[in-house]
Amino acid sequence: MEPRRDLMKSSSDSLLLSLLEHQPMYGYRIVKELEERSQGYFKFKEGTLYPALHRLEKSGLITGRWQALPNRRQRRYYYITSKGLAKLATEKSQWQDFLEAVRLILEPRPASP
């Protein structure tokens, strides 16, 4: 099933920050990682990733650095900042509360006798 656009839009920052939480990544790797980890659920127009990354960078949540590869090519790796980590922690907690609340509604526990 395709993810709803509004859901995708509201969660894209958290998803990107989450991916960068444990290791820096470059754009192409982020797209593949997102697709793999979500088992193909999150699949979007790949070119729109860069404006999203640059928006996060301008907000100070991530920072990008060019790194040269042995084959003379260059890649821009993105690192999460401490501000980004703090934001991610808040968002994770908000998402968990939200998901728990939705689960309680969608899957009500049978009333105890």
Partner: protein, 329 residues
Amino acid sequence: MTPELVQYLENIKYRSRLGPPDETGVMSEIEAHIEDEVQELRASGLTEDEAMQVCLGQMGGAGLIARRIYEAYSQGSWTQVLLASMPHLLFGLLFVLNWWHYAGWLTLVLLLTLATTVYGWWHGKPAWVFSWLGYVLLPIIILGLLLLYLPNVWSLLTLLIYLPTAMWWLLRLIVQTTKKDWLFSSLMLLPLPIIIGWFLAISPAGKFNETSFQRLNSFAPWIGLSFIALALTIAVFIRLRQRSLRIGLLAASGLLTLTLVVYYTAGRLDTLTFLGLVLVMWGVLLVPPLLERYVRDNGRKFALRQSAPSHKYNLYWEDNIEGAGQRKR
């Protein structure tokens, strides 16, 4: 690099309207992404053409990417808001506080305008410089008006030299600004119809006399308010991310301010003059995009012909870029 990819990247570059350092960074990243993707697709057994087709499909339309890039970069900081609305505020205060009587204040504001414009122009032409640039045109208009006071033959002779020179300089300035982004040309010219409106209300014959100064005195608070309204417009403009909203804001604000000018001049501007001013306002908003298209098309045509003079490339150009060839090869 295939011609299809060249055109795709060129479209993103053209529509995202970034300054040189940001543009290089963003385009290099997108290019590197496409290279990685094509390499992986080719490894899975696709031909180069097939891989490129699939890759560009997965990347998304150039227009969509460019729009998102524009939105990521367009919003100015609060410092930029202050700097961009400052010239309108200064000119507004000159009239609201009746400082326009004093040559000292006038000279100071004009010198500050000139110095700030020159500084901004030589330091990367940031968005805020274009609202200052509009006011640099004022001394040119004032000088043109002063020439009318020369004896008849001299007035005609100097105007014959002055007018083409001033027009050439103005056009050059507009072309340079439009090369960056046509919206900045509109931003720069926005006060023009409002200044013309006030000028016609104060001195319809084009010459200043005692009555004109009396009228200027009585209209001064409203003149000031119209400039302050422009300052507010520019502040919102700098903070907005979406291009369509920015265009809408300039159009709505220009029209509203002109209506206020007509209202406050209490019948001194008739319907025909108002319509003429509205036409000038639409010119301010419609001519720059047309000029930009002309300048960019010519620039791209020249650059592509210089970089790829091969027969194959020229046919590609004719078919896909000039749009003249709807023909299929």
